[in-house]
């Protein structure tokens, strides 16, 4: 779900934007910096909602830009623990199911959080739920799945090393800055089509 968070930040307005109204240039600068980024322990910032307070700009010797402290609210995507969401299955592995939303990919349902009577079929690369002896319900890739958020994991990401920034070194498997652990254990969870 989306929430509004109140944040203050010091924004540098470059001299070439002095001619446009400060609200516009501030919003642009903030969007450039924050949109589609994860703030640690907060969530995924979507965009600026509104500006609450704009302080006077400060000048630094040797810099043509002006530094403005601004108080604003931004839309943040941060599901709470226990929230029920729907997404798409992107990958099935023996360890669990990876789920993605259109704008967020790092959702994982570990095998211990899937229905008890569920098993992984390596041949079909799919998880199969057997609510009783005869029925077999498949969780396939690209199916719409409903799940409950159980845990959120924030990882502090180090800045890129100079080698990585130049493209000399491919970054090794980094942990994503924000990931969700989800579960699929109670009635109503699992593929949306099962319950309609």
């Amino acid at each position: 779900m989306f929430i509004l968070s109140e944040v203050t930040d010091l924004v540098r307005i470059p001299p070439q934007s002095f001619n446009i109204p400060i609200q516009h240039s501030l919003t642009d600068e903030l969007n450039k910096k924050l949109a589609n980024k994860v703030i640690s322990n907060l969530g995924l910032v979507i965009t600026v909602w509104d500006l609450l307070d704009i302080k006077d700009g400060l000048l630094k010797p040797g810099d043509g830009g002006s530094f403005v402290e601004v108080k604003f609210r931004c839309i943040v995507w941060k599901p709470f623990i226990g929230e029920v969401l729907t997404g798409w299955v992107s990958e099935c592995s023996p360890e669990g199911i990876k789920v993605k939303l259109e704008f967020f990919d790092e959702i994982f349902i570990p095998k211990s959080y899937i229905f008890e009577a569920c098993e992984f079929r390596p041949v079909e690369k799919a998880w199969v739920w057997k609510p009783d002896e005869e029925t077999e319900l498949f969780i396939d890739i690209n199916e719409k799945i409903r799940f409950r958020v159980e845990e959120e994991i924030f990882v502090n990401i180090k800045p890129k090393s100079s080698h990585e920034a130049l493209g000399l070194e491919v970054p090794s498997n980094r942990a994503p800055p924000y990931a969700l652990l989800a579960s699929c254990q109670t009635d109503g969870m699992g593929c949306v089509s099962w319950w309609d």
Partner: protein, 172 residues
């Protein structure tokens, strides 16, 4: 950067959707072929695509809008209907967060509603739960259309298969 208030208020998917649509309109972005067409037909405005806000905003606007259009809350069409549903839900002893989840997910089956509302079976009897679902179906009728669409899709699928077989026959 300092976070003053982590959660100033909650937003429903509908509100976010409206806000993102405004942004998209403001910057004249087009994400689908239909958008392109609509803009080509719109002769009044000058068609400048502003990018001063950076690429990331455009990416997230596109993705969030496509997420919201795929989600159940896209059935909410007008603010009046949204308001009606909220007023109706206020009559129940629901937590704020539960109401929000109902508005976002628009449950149309008992199982789905039970998943959203904690201990739903203890707090509400079946009749009252059915009232909620009935109200949702009344305000936002969608299921029949969906079935039709599926039917159409299937028809199309069959057609294309026929096409393929028709194409293949002369080769053979």
């Amino acid at each position: 950067m300092k976070i003053l208030n982590e959660r100033d208020s909650f937003l429903s998917n509908y509100e976010v959707g409206e806000f993102m649509k405004d942004i998209k309109k403001k910057y004249n972005w087009t994400f689908t072929a239909e958008d392109d067409e609509a803009q080509a037909n719109d002769k009044r405005k000058f068609k400048k695509r502003f990018t001063a806000c950076g690429l990331e905003l455009e990416v997230i606007t596109r993705d969030v809008l496509s997420y919201l259009s795929n989600s159940a809350s896209s059935a909410i069409d007008t603010q009046q209907n949204f308001q009606k549903l909220m007023e109706f839900l206020n009559g129940f002893e629901l937590m704020k967060i539960e109401k929000l989840q109902i508005v976002n997910a628009l449950p149309r089956s008992m199982v789905h509603l039970y998943a959203l509302v904690e201990e739903c079976d203890l707090r509400f009897d079946e009749e009252r739960c059915e009232l909620i679902i009935a109200k949702i179906n009344e305000l936002f009728p969608v299921e029949e259309e969906e079935e039709e669409e599926e039917q159409e899709e299937q028809d199309e699928g069959e057609e294309s298969e026929q096409f393929k077989s028709a194409e293949q026959t002369p080769e053979q």
